[in-house]
């Protein structure tokens, strides 16, 4: 049996006729042009997600950054015995930077949806740790040059 106009099921005996045959307005109403045209889904910024292989490399880097942080903390702890305040500050500073870098790198591996932000955060911390080291080298070189200059001036004067 074929359907009736309007998509209604065939008229079976004993059942009432379809609504449009009973005087009710048909559906859809005349003039209705159908559903609005489909719109494209809104474009959200696409977040990059590192693959499993890439995560392995990041995890390794995180592990060694954490090891370095722990080493710096231990060195700072031992310098407490000597009351070497400068040494404590430097080691704690570098330790915190490496610890943060390690945490952010671990977050890249463990979480989803914010990999790039976590990666940027880790790079910022690594950059801070390297900056502390570079400043130390610069200060050390400056001191060596200063002492050398003083010694040269004193010996030349004598």
């Amino acid at each position: 049996m074929t359907n009736q106009p309007g998509g209604y099921p065939p008229q079976y005996p004993g059942y009432p006729p379809p609504p449009h045959q009973q005087g009710y307005p048909s559906y859809p109403p005349p003039g209705y042009e159908g559903y609005p045209p489909q719109q494209a889904a809104p474009q959200w910024p696409v977040q990059y997600e590192f693959s499993e292989q890439e995560n392995k490399t990041i995890e390794r880097c995180a592990a060694w950054a954490k090891a370095l942080a722990v080493l710096n903390y231990v060195m700072a702890g031992l310098q407490v015995i000597n009351l070497n305040i400068v040494g404590i500050i430097i080691n704690v500073g570098i330790g915190i930077a490496f610890w943060r870098a390690s945490k952010s790198l671990a977050d890249v591996v463990e979480t989803q949806g914010n990999d790039v932000q976590h990666l940027m955060s880790s790079l910022k911390s690594i950059s801070a740790a390297l900056m502390i080291r570079l400043v130390l080298v610069a200060v050390g070189l400056g001191l060596v040059l200063l002492v050398g200059l003083i010694v040269a001036v004193v010996f030349l004067a004598i």
């Binding site: 809104p42 693959s51 490399t57 979480t111």
Partner: protein, 180 residues
């Protein structure tokens, strides 16, 4: 069941669809990456320069060991110097190589397009190796200095230098001279 085209995209916490494969870092991100790359390269240069200077020192010590001995320096000291400095030279050269490599890879992330993720992963791999070397060297130095400190405290070696003739005899001669 059909998909709802108006449905919000599914993402965990980030508010965006997840992608793998290729990614191009934004300008702000490139700035941070470039800065880290510069510092990593510079630190690598410092380590490499230290390694090269140490190598020159080792070469001088090795080539002129005969002259040093003639000048009165115990040849054992030259050997001790070479054995002590050689590992640090090697480690500095290696560490410098990895840090500079990481810096170059980070710079490549900023300068090139289409391979940002590959360069980033390469830089993280090299940084991981550099951190490993730093950790091993730091631990060795820490354990070595701790062991040396304990050894000095336990054995209390006598470092005082006794000059020839500076014994009781010479003291007696001095007393006699004073009496005269």
């Amino acid at each position: 069941m059909q998909n709802n085209p108006y449905e919000a995209p599914v993402a965990d916490g980030g508010g965006g669809a997840l992608a793998t494969g290729r990614h191009e870092f934004s300008e702000a991100e490139n700035k941070q990456i470039g800065e880290t790359g510069k510092r990593s390269w510079l630190w690598g240069l410092v380590a490499l320069a230290t390694g090269v200077l140490g190598s020159i020192g080792l070469a001088v010590a090795f080539v002129f060991r005969g002259e040093f001995a003639q000048a009165g320096l115990d040849p054992n000291w030259v050997t001790i110097f070479i054995v002590a400095v050689l590992p640090f030279v090697a480690v500095n050269l290696l560490s410098g190589f990895f840090y500079m490599g990481a810096g170059n890879s980070l710079k490549a992330v900023v300068k090139t397009q289409g391979s940002d993720v590959q360069h980033m992963i390469a830089s993280l791999s090299k940084l991981g190796s550099a951190f490993l070397i730093d950790f091993l060297v730091g631990t060795l130095m820490f354990v070595g200095s701790f062991a040396l400190g304990v050894a000095l405290a336990v054995y209390k070696p006598d470092f005082s230098v006794e000059e020839e003739g500076s014994t009781e005899e010479s003291t007696a001669e001095e007393v006699e001279d004073f009496d005269d």
